[in-house]
């Protein structure tokens, strides 16, 4: 696989529209993919929310807001991201500490920071700040990075992950950790180190188990044997499986899913929305939705392969793979091949404080793609 980095800008067949888009730093295929996904998401959400225009409107406004953030970020040159990475990281970690110390209780867990005007979860900042900082650090290191470089990167990752897990927000902690780990992997960490780290991680599992909260343990146990508590908590998984299976090949049709519409399916507009897709649009619908995700991811892979320096390469690659991890953790949970961790389906689930973060990430990718220097060869 060889990419001629840099020459895309000299495409002779470039239309005026394409030139305009480029000037305002929009990557057309990626933008098209995201718009399509958002549109499909609203259609699904309308059904999953028991046909509530109110929900639709709020989600639409959120989408518009997040898209604006994305476009604004796309205007910033990547060197600024690089410069401000450690600062963003530092601020994020400080805010996490602040949340732990004086955070307001939201949903029984301390995740929110109330700034008077807006409330937000500092852990969202870290979803971007961690890969940015690790990329900033490792881009200065030789390839492959020495053991001490890996160790330093590990510390960069472990601090926020630990703080977030303590909130406790296991889902986000895993996602942030994954984002950092992906950078280390892409930076060319030796396979031997990877093997040792993997083995060590497996060895640490019992320790992690010890520190998990009861409800988190429940979720893991429930995943391992959902039938054990069919009358109680295993209900989610059983009902989700019924919804998916009963959808069949073609699905029951939009607004026709009995599982979803008759309220058998819990959390159907948030974490379990993929089951609604599966019930109402069938296997075809699921493959279609996965197809849109894969198109977006494919374009992002293309962007990362064209990136011109180590920092943007690592960052764009990490953001891409992390996005896939989001999709996979959620869909895997809904179809019952992964444990139930509270992770929404990106851009489709209702609410999603993470929507701004997600689209900000795509803004970074667009910036990386559209700020390339037009170097010959």
């Amino acid at each position: 696989m060889r990419y001629d980095s840099g020459l895309a800008g000299f495409n002779a067949g470039e239309t005026r529209f394409e030139r305009l888009m480029k000037r305002i730093h929009i990557d057309i295929p990626l933008f098209a993919g995201l718009i399509t996904l958002s549109g499909v998401a609203l259609v699904i959400l309308y059904s999953a929310s028991a046909q509530s225009f109110d929900v639709l409107l709020r989600q639409g406004i959120r989408l518009l807001l997040a898209m604006s953030v994305m476009l604004a970020i796309a205007q910033i040159h990547p060197r600024h991201f690089r410069f401000y990475s450690p600062l963003l990281y530092g601020v994020g970690v400080l805010l996490l500490v602040a949340v732990l110390v004086m955070g307001e209780i939201g949903k029984g867990a301390q995740r929110w920071l109330d700034l008077g005007v807006i409330r937000f979860q500092p852990s969202e900042i870290l979803k971007l700040a961690v890969p940015m900082t690790v990329a900033w650090y490792l881009s200065e290191c030789p390839v492959p990075p020495a053991f001490r470089h890996v160790a330093v990167a590990g510390v960069f990752i472990a601090i926020p992950v630990g703080l977030i897990a303590k909130q406790p927000d296991l889902g986000t902690a895993i996602l942030v950790g994954a984002a950092g780990a992906v950078v280390v992997f892409l930076a060319g960490i030796r396979w031997l180190y990877l093997l040792v780290l993997g083995g060590g991680g497996a060895g640490l599992l019992p320790v992690v188990w010890h520190f998990l909260h009861d409800y988190q343990r429940d979720r893991v146990l429930m995943f391992l044997n959902p039938e054990a508590d069919a009358l109680g908590r295993g209900y989610h998984i059983i009902q989700s499986k019924i919804a998916i299976g009963s959808g069949g090949f073609y699905g029951k049709g939009w607004l026709q899913g009995s599982q979803a519409q008759l309220e058998f399916l819990p959390e159907k507009s948030t974490d379990f929305i993929f089951a609604v897709v599966a019930e109402e649009f069938g296997l075809i619908g699921c493959l279609g939705l996965l197809g849109i995700y894969l198109f977006i991811i494919g374009r992002c892979v293309h962007i990362s392969l064209q990136a011109q320096d180590a920092y943007t390469r690592l960052l764009s690659g990490a953001l891409t793979l992390t996005f896939f991890v989001y999709v996979f953790v959620n869909t895997g949970m809904v179809v019952g091949i992964l444990p139930v961790v509270g992770v929404p389906l990106p851009l489709v689930s209702y609410g999603g404080t993470s929507m701004v973060t997600l689209l900000a990430g795509f803004g970074i990718l667009m910036s990386i793609q559209t700020h390339r220097k037009l170097l010959p060869g």
Partner: protein, 611 residues
């Protein structure tokens, strides 16, 4: 740019590209797994899941566990499960519910009460659940319905295990009973643990050990067709039956104690002093708990509630009675331990006591007085004047604190719910409960267990057990062992020691032996024929006050105004195996009425026969 730098750059890019390729392969594998799972659920499992979804409602049927059996210490069954035939309706399978109920009512002669209860239950359950309309059908009703069953789709006779208490009244206040789960219960229990269960422990052991007795509900995942008819069992998780409980209660002793009370209402609590195990726990009168299980008719319940004898009232656990002279051994110890009153100090008893600057006479029960008495003779003869003075000398706060060590004014922690703490007053207590300050006269009458002092029979029995143990504190406990349940380990109670000088115990216990075995003892009437020593103390508690200068004549006072008779005892005095507290309401004298009851209980326990 140097050639080396370019090479390095190219190497960096190659490593990155290789990693991306590797990631994409992993990604595609993950997508493959996802798609494979979707195909498995949506194509292979489609028919199966479509059926489940089409009649999602009848997916999971609970399998209620069998409730644990309750035995007494000798293996006699105190609470059992017996099959009972009940008529059950599944509302969603019945086209016209009202018409069906009306027809069944006519066919089987069901009461409006049954129908009313059914409607209440129906509101609490889902429409696909089977809800009992008539519990405990008799043979004729079963026969009548069996003939017509084909005309009543959705109606069936079900066999349910129902709780029964073979000893009825005898165990009602100790074992308690189960009854229908009420709306209030539903708020506190986890419905998924109780699906398919209709009863829950409401009082006594049945309530305290509900979680042990109940067991764990199992369930069946039923595959059903579109009509909601079960066409097969997919998966069964069997229920785990509740634990069987063995109590320390001795049903023969329980009966002996009840019988010994004879015509009197009251309470008897007998403990094993060393362990705090409850041997007998009687509150009289009692009631038959069995009707409560299947729903007692309102009229019957009202009658129990309104009865002046108050059979539902657990006297042993909740009754607050003035302890009268039964507190004297404990207060004697207070004098020795915290009052600096030597055992041999003599106090003169002229038959009454007056506070300085007051003309009010606190009378002794013996009109002429006891002359000069030391502690031993004051206990043996139950001299009131001695204890008036003792209480004043020790002071109410010190006395109250000391009596608290024996559990006066505190819950004993017996494993029957609803216990009341009684009262042993102090200045601080009065400040909280009254706008008046503490008066010295109140200290005086506290000295003979009157005034504000209230004890429960179980409290008195426990204090007696501590006395028998020479200071080792125990907690009364009915549960001996649980079999098959999770919490099978039964905690041995107690351990605390009051650390009172041995010679003080000797003095007081010897005085209590003299109460029974000496010529001047107030309970000497029960000594004849005993093959062991009993240490006891009589008590006679005033229910109403006799005016100054008037005389209390038992025969002239209406029964409700007569004194309560009390007696506490343990035996054998040297190696106590049983401690008893007896309360006979309006029994008159402790020595003549309550002491023989205690004697009967001790004889039964120690010699296994009637006196």
């Amino acid at each position: 740019m140097s050639i080396r730098a370019v090479r390095r750059l190219q190497n960096d890019v190659r490593v990155f590209q290789a990693r991306i390729v590797f990631s994409v392969v992993l990604l595609l594998l993950a997508v493959g797994a996802l798609v494979a799972r979707l195909v498995y659920l949506q194509i292979v499992g489609h028919a199966h899941y479509a059926t489940l979804s089409q009649d999602n409602r009848v997916k999971i049927a609970p399998l209620p566990p069998t409730r644990g059996i309750v035995y007494d210490r000798n293996g006699e069954v105190l609470a059992d499960n017996v099959p009972s035939y009940s008529l059950e309706l599944v509302p969603e399978r019945i086209e016209d519910l009202d018409a069906t109920i009306a027809e069944l009512q006519a066919l089987l002669g069901l009461s409006d009460e049954d129908v009313r209860r059914f409607r209440k239950l129906k509101a609490q359950h889902k429409s696909f659940e089977s809800i009992p309309l008539k519990m405990r059908m008799d043979e004729e009703q079963i026969a009548r319905f069996a003939v017509k069953q084909p005309f009543f789709p959705g109606v069936q006779i079900a066999v349910r295990m129902i709780r029964t208490y073979p000893y009825g009244e005898l165990t009602a206040h100790a074992v308690g009973y189960v009854s229908r789960i009420s709306e209030a219960d539903l708020k506190t229990l986890d419905p998924s643990l109780y699906s398919g269960t209709y009863h829950i422990g409401k009082s006594g052991i049945e309530k305290t050990y509900e979680s042990l007795l109940h067991g764990r509900t199992g369930h069946q995942e039923l595959e059903t067709n579109v009509q909601g008819r079960s066409i097969g069992v997919l998966n069964t998780v069997p229920p785990v039956p509740g634990a069987d409980l063995r109590l320390s209660l001795d049903i023969a002793l329980q009966r002996a104690a009840t019988d010994a009370l004879g015509e009197y209402n009251g309470a008897v609590v007998a403990l094993e002093p060393a362990t705090g195990r409850v041997l007998a726990f009687v509150s009289k009168p009692s009631f038959d708990p069995n009707p409560f299980v299947y729903g007692i008719p309102k009229a019957d319940y009202d009658r129990l509630q309104a009865s002046p004898e108050r059979p539902l009232y657990n006297r042993a656990l909740r009754g607050g009675y003035p302890p009268g002279s039964t507190v004297k051994p404990f207060e004697g110890l207070a004098g020795l331990e915290v009052g600096d009153i030597p055992a041999d100090r003599r106090v003169s008893c002229p038959g009454y006591f007056q506070l300085p600057n007051s003309s009010h006479q606190y009378r002794d029960w013996r009109k002429g007085g006891h002359g000069a008495v030391d502690l031993k003779s004051a206990i043996t003869q139950s001299c009131d004047v001695y204890f008036y003075k003792l209480a004043l000398s020790v002071g109410i706060d010190k006395l109250s604190e000391f009596m608290g060590r024996f559990g006066f004014g505190k819950r004993t922690g017996v494993d029957i719910p609803g216990e009341l703490p009684g009262v042993y007053p102090s200045k601080e207590w009065k400040k909280k409960h009254s706008k008046y300050p503490w008066f010295p006269g109140e200290t005086v009458i506290t000295g003979i267990g009157q005034g504000y002092v209230l004890v429960t029979p179980v409290q008195l029995a426990r204090a007696t057990a501590i006395l028998a143990n020479r200071g080792r504190v125990v907690t009364p406990r009915l549960l001996d062992a649980a079999q098959g349940g999770a919490g099978a380990a039964v905690r041995e109670s107690g351990g605390d020691d009051l650390a009172i000088a041995p010679e003080h115990w000797d003095t007081v216990i010897q005085a209590m032996i003299d109460v029974v075995h000496s010529a001047r003892g107030t309970a000497k009437s029960i000594a004849a024929g005993l093959s062991y020593h009993v240490a006891g103390k009589t008590g006679t508690a005033q229910v109403f006050s006799v005016g100054q200068g008037q005389k209390y004549r038992e025969s002239e006072v209406s029964k409700e105004m007569r004194d309560h008779a009390l007696f506490i005892a343990f035996a054998p005095a040297e190696q106590p195996r049983i401690a008893v507290a007896v309360l006979a309401e309006h029994g008159g004298h402790g020595g003549s009425v309550a002491a023989p009851v205690a004697r009967a209980v001790m004889e039964r326990y120690l010699n296994g026969g009637a006196p």
